[in-house]
């Protein structure tokens, strides 16, 4: 039996079993196991349900505004109501959601919508203090503001689910007979959004988009026409469509998504187009890497993914040729391959509508990730020029700054805990709330590491957690972002671990590796680290003189 990645509690004031059916039946990940709160017992469920014990317990609370906000229900029938009373009721509902959220991994709350047939006050419907549309917008904004107090509550835009359903978004007969307020397509769209959201909270959002060039980034074949004759921008709708596609990809880079190119072309010719064409939105510096040659695209894609230290399941592949898409699907089944039509008019919309990039947080580091990838490419080039690994490491001039836990880093720490796979000792996943709760114990210690070299700043990329039990320190978290791996930062973290543990009176440090399908690099590090292997996957350091700091690294120990 497949273990569910999410045990999902559905709480509603309408018949929600249809939605549950779509969640369970949809074959795409994550696998959800659904349970239902009692019909119409929303507040009772939110305020009296004890905290669940499953670490994969999520919930959806989907309500109709007139049910949980009583004065709004009267407004729907043109009764005069006091907006402040309504906003107070929203606050009461928000308080209940905030209480409930403490007991789940993630809580998803669809926004309130007006049924399409509700015309309200017509041309006055957006008049403050009168119209229903304006009132509902205020209610949703108040809900959004209040729910942002908890990092594990996410408001989902339900209006987006009604649009694809068109006339079938609602059916009065269905509502009257069964108390199902929406058509099947609405629930289907909702299920896909909730699943994407759960994947995002599990750290499984896609991280890299790899795009083709000819026919996707521009019209025409650059190798045949030269860059000046490409269909890009200008006053043609096709040229503008390609520009719009590039703008959408650029937009993704500002959300922390990396870009790559795999194209059958002459590299010099293709890069010249990227560098020179005046209508190009994307330039060479926007790409974390590329494979532009006449080789097999699947092979090139696999090499590019490995170069960028990512897994194939973190990648989206975009190509206008069905044969190439089929080749990649066959060779790299974990890569998400997007079906693109021959008409470029919809390319931007297709990219914009992809759910696979949904993440539960967006930090300033995320926004700089594309730039970091470019500097990483420069490091890679320097590495090839230098030849010797030791010489390259020395020339990098690596500085590691180590900090004890700081509140300001909570969001980034939570992101590292939940998204890092390869260099991760125990793959301990925690929400922000769970992390802060863990830190309340004085025996629990957490250190973060910021890494920089002469090319630039890698950001906060390392995390070390350990628990002191008498004279033993047990490592709970040994995490390093893949972009900082292999530069002696791991050894630096081990040095600090032993140093800080010994400073607490500890006489031995134990690291117990928990294997996953992705963290073999972590085991390799510990096996080569000099720590004693005591059997199984347990490593121990008990030498009196500490663990050496690598000579290639400057360590700055911050106290605050």
């Amino acid at each position: 039996m497949i273990q569910p990645e999410s045990t999902l509690r559905l709480i509603s004031d309408f018949t929600i079993e249809v939605f549950g059916g779509y969640l369970e039946n949809d074959p795409s990940p994550p696998h959800c196991q659904v349970s239902y709160g009692s019909f119409g017992q929303v507040f009772q469920e939110l305020l009296t349900t004890p905290a669940p014990k499953a670490t994969n317990q999520d919930a959806v609370v989907w309500t109709l505004p007139e049910s949980v906000i009583e004065p709004f229900g009267r407004s729907l029938y043109s009764e005069e109501t006091d907006t402040s009373d309504i906003i107070d009721s929203v606050d009461v509902f928000a308080d209940a959601l905030l209480t409930y959220s403490k007991g789940v991994r993630s809580l998803f709350v669809p926004t309130w919508v007006l049924m399409p047939a509700t015309r309200g006050y017509g041309l006055l419907d957006w008049r403050p203090g009168l119209g229903l549309s304006e009132l509902l917008a205020r209610m949703n904004l108040q809900l959004a503001t209040r729910l942002s107090e908890a990092p594990n509550i996410f408001l989902l835009d339900a209006q987006r689910w009604l649009q694809p359903a068109g006339e079938r978004a609602t059916n009065s007969k269905l509502w009257l007979a069964t108390k199902v307020p929406f058509g099947n397509r609405v629930f289907q769209e909702a299920a896909l959004d909730v699943k994407a959201a759960i994947l995002g909270t599990m750290g499984k959002a896609k991280k890299l988009v790899v795009t083709d060039l000819d026919g996707i980034m521009w019209g025409g074949v650059v190798g045949e026409t030269g860059w000046a004759e490409l269909d890009l921008g200008g006053h043609s709708h096709r040229g503008e469509a390609f520009v719009a596609y590039q703008q959408m990809l650029k937009s993704l880079t500002r959300r922390g998504v990396l870009l790559g190119i795999v194209s059958k072309n002459d590299e010099v010719v293709a890069l010249e187009a990227i560098d020179q064409h005046p209508e190009m939105i994307l330039r060479r510096s926007d790409f974390a890497g590329w494979r532009i040659n006449w080789g097999d695209k699947a092979q090139n894609l696999a090499e590019l993914i490995e170069e960028l230290n990512l897994g194939t399941d973190a990648v989206v592949f975009i190509d206008d040729e069905e044969i190439q898409r089929g080749r990649v699907r066959e060779a790299l089944p974990d890569v998400m391959v997007v079906d693109m039509p021959s008409d470029p008019s919809t390319y931007a919309d297709i990219v914009s509508s992809l759910r696979c990039f949904d993440t539960p947080s967006l930090s300033s580091e995320d926004r700089r990730r594309a730039l970091m990838a470019v500097t990483e490419r420069e490091r890679h080039v320097a590495r090839q020029e230098v030849g010797s690994l030791e010489k390259w490491l020395a020339e990098l001039e690596i500085t590691v700054s180590a900090y004890p836990f700081r509140n300001v880093d909570t969001e980034r720490i939570t992101q590292l805990l939940n998204k890092t796979n390869q260099m991760n000792l125990r793959t301990r996943r925690m929400t922000e709330s769970q992390l802060l709760g863990w830190l309340k114990d004085d025996a629990h210690h957490l250190w973060t590491f910021r890494v920089a070299d002469r090319f630039g700043d890698y950001g906060l990329t390392g995390l070390l957690g350990f628990v002191i039990k008498s004279e033993t320190a047990e490592v709970t978290d040994f995490i390093l972002s893949c972009r900082a791996m292999g530069r002696r930062v791991e050894e630096t973290m081990a040095h600090l671990l032993v140093d800080r543990a010994y400073a607490q009176g500890v006489k031995e440090v134990i690291a117990d590796y928990q294997p996953t399908p992705r963290n073999a690099p972590c085991l390799r590090f510990w096996m080569d680290s000099g720590f004693e292997s005591t059997g199984g996957h347990t490593f121990r350091w008990a030498k009196a003189n500490g663990y050496s700091l690598p000579k290639e690294v400057s360590l700055v120990l911050e106290t605050t």
């Binding site: 249809v18 059916g21 779509y22 079938r168 007969k173 269905l174 007979a177 069964t178 058509g183 099947n184």
Partner: protein, 101 residues
Amino acid sequence: MDPAVTYQVILEAIYSAVDEINNQLPTAQQLAKQEDTIILGEGGTLDSLGTIQLLVAIEEHIATSVGGNIDLMDGNLLSLQDGSLQSIDSLTHFITEKLFT
């Protein structure tokens, strides 16, 4: 329109509705797209919610495919007195007669 063709058009609309409903049903409750599949009555797999969902979906698909409006939520139909809702075949005949005779 040729009655055979009409029947087929209605049948395809019903099958489209069945596909739609099956997407939300547990495997054990999903309907087979066969004319002798039981909708309502002994041998049927749908619960009350599923039955009404199916009937509403059929109404919508009929409206889209042939432009006709039909009400399948009539009390007599649902109470099985008529027998028209017993199987996909009987329902197809019922709708065809209602819309085209």
